[in-house]
Subunit: 152 residues, 2 copies
Amino acid sequence: MIEKATPPPEAIKAWARLMRVSRQLFEQAEEALKESGLPALAWYDVLHELAEAGEEGLRPFQLIERTLFAQYNMSRLLARLQADGLVEKLKVADDGRGQTIRISAKGREMRRRMWAVYGRSIAELVGTKLTAEELEALASLLGQLRFPPADD
Amino acid sequence: MIEKATPPPEAIKAWARLMRVSRQLFEQAEEALKESGLPALAWYDVLHELAEAGEEGLRPFQLIERTLFAQYNMSRLLARLQADGLVEKLKVADDGRGQTIRISAKGREMRRRMWAVYGRSIAELVGTKLTAEELEALASLLGQLRFPPADD
DNA sequence: AGGTGATAAATGCAATTGCATCAATCTTGA
DNA sequence: TCAAGATTGATGCAATTGCATTTATCACCT
């Protein structure tokens, strides 16, 4: 009985490209932010989720679900965001363990400034490299790799 | 004169999927290695390059080119690999600054054991989710995002 | 009500990463 | 030949991350 030694070569190639390209693009986007004197992408992710959540804010565990950060990582990231005045921590009435995180006006402004740079990076790094149809095809293929898979 | 405020929505969606899916898959592959008591993927990348390079080995700066690690990161990673006996550092004759890194027998064995787990992760995480044609399409799209772009 | 296990968030400590800089060698050009 | 600059690799120090554990509260079950 032969044991399968290795995945099919198409899978290996797609995996290798995915790992390499995603890392390269991520680092380029981070570098653009840094060059503009702005915080890292992790901050953007949180500010973005909080901006979408609006005035009622989000609980830290909800942010963790949305952003895939580790719990201890989120805890410290929120502490830094708070120290910079970009978010507020509010006691939540019905759960004494928890808190609600709300973005501040300063946080919204920071998000806006970050998006000016980040959005430009996205436009340059993927928007100019693929057509709209190709971008949709890429998003669809990636969606099938997600767990749970996306159907669009 | 209107300033373009944001990249096209297809670009944003493809970007978001790329960042999220690649991170999720990377973490799942790392977790599988950790559960088997094996080192992180970074170690595999270096051992893989060195195994392909054969007996003459590679210079650290060549490894940096191939793996996209930062220089200080590679320096320390190689020190750890050497401390574990997985690679050897050799003086190089024609350049007194440099060294050549060669994989050891123990390093080859470690790479083999890591591949048994890593390859299985790749098979499960992408091999079973997409057809061969879809995997090739994905690799091709990602190749166009690379710099320099891949043409296949 | 009271005990038990689950959940929310924080934290001490070790390992890793990022940044800046250093030391050593090499290359080039006057 | 030798000074100036570039390249190779390492390292001190601060910031971040990972891991394990802790603290506090909640939910459930008897």
